[in-house]
């Protein structure tokens, strides 16, 4: 959206940033879900490592499972590290401006909305940050390539007709969504 129109991005950002349902309900649910997901995931990974005390001298994991499925903890930790950077970049400054300084206007001193300018400022002339964003979204893509379809199996949904469709949709989702975020970072890096 920020790539298509600065005004559209500003308006949507201001709506979401000040809407009480988004801020007071959806945001806490999202934060709880993410924290629950990675805490529970790391706990299960710990249990899994404990379930085999002596390792194999030779183990051909690639003979029967994808790299993505075998290394969810690696891609997951990379995404978590990215989330820390993302919070440092955007979320903490946003909370500071809105709820500590009390400025809910979303405006700069000149009267323009600040959201698009802040976004561009983070990426323009910042090759290290842009590289980290791109790498992180590649890791997110790898995480989702297994995680999306795996979540259906975990809740008991496995159907000879619909599971292949879910796997295809999952692959499209896992590539298209992270690719969209990569485009945002790259466009603002090269265009400004």
């Amino acid at each position: 959206m920020s790539v298509i129109s600065a005004d559209l991005f500003n308006n949507v950002s201001h709506f979401m940033g000040t809407n009480p349902v988004v801020q007071g309900l959806l945001q806490p649910i999202l934060i709880f879900s993410v924290v629950f997901h990675f805490v529970w995931g790391m706990y299960l990974e710990y249990q899994n490592t404990q379930a085999r005390e002596v390792k194999y001298a030779m183990y051909k994991g690639s003979a029967n499972a994808t790299w993505m499925s075998r290394n969810m903890i690696i891609s997951g930790l990379a995404v978590l590290a990215f989330l820390c950077l993302h919070f440092y970049d955007f979320w903490i400054p946003e909370i500071n401006v809105k709820y500590i300084q009390g400025d809910m206007s979303g405006k700069l001193p000149n009267g323009d909305y600040r959201y698009h300018e802040e976004l561009v400022h983070k990426f323009a002339g910042q090759p290290i940050r842009v590289s980290l964003y791109v790498l992180s979204f590649v890791m997110l893509s790898l995480h989702l390539l297994h995680g999306f379809q795996s979540s259906f199996q975990s809740v008991g949904f496995n159907n000879s007709k619909y599971t292949p469709i879910i796997k295809k949709l999952g692959n499209i989702f896992a590539i298209a969504v992270p690719a969209g975020f990569v485009v945002v970072a790259l466009v603002h890096f090269f265009a400004h």
Binding site: Q47, N48, A51, V54, Y56, R70, G156, F157
Partner: protein, 251 residues
Amino acid sequence: MKDMNLTLKIWRQKGANDKGKMIDYQVAGISEHMSFLEMMDVLNEQLINSGDSPVAFDHDCREGICGSCSMFINGEAHGPVKGTTTCQLHMRSFKDGDTIYIEPFRAKAFPVLKDLVVDRSSFDRIQRSGGFISVNTSGNTQDANALPIPKQDADLAMDAAACIGCGACVATCKNSSAMLFVGAKISQYALLPQGQVESKTRAQNMVAQMDAEGFGNCTNTGACEVECPKGIDLSNIARMNREFLGGSLKG
């Protein structure tokens, strides 16, 4: 093909409390027509003649039915050939000069007893916790065929019942999860009317016992399905999850 000379790297462990280590052996004159276990027999004869202790390994039917044989060969449960138990693996799958790693099925819930022999009684305890139907066998038992069962359900139940409980799923899973085994054992009853009477508690009890034995969690890598010698598929794990969630919601 001429006879093969092989280097074997085998896990040797004197007993359950011994630390154990990999030891190299050389075997010569191995025919491609030998089964893997016959090759092990040749090695053991060689060891006995030289005064060494033979390598202990589980085997019984040697027909791919009983589920006793349990070797982890060159990094894969039951070796490199899919849909095959170790006893049905033949030396034609290897070539002269090969180095072959032979290890026991490894999991905390499968403690090594000696060399390649592991204790798989955790599977028995899971089965005892719910893998049955309660039928009065006083002489008035209804004929099983009196209940009409859809062909598809009967076929799926039979497919699940093909599980021989060898433990390859646990051995190959990076998490040492037993969910394919438990899923198969639950599915073979869940699909039939005789088994549905106790479906509410079966999955709960078997999953609780599986967790108590120290198996890991399923992360849906699908490795178990690929390495299972009987082709038990992941839909059985999904069915187990449905049965478990359904039982949880019913309370």
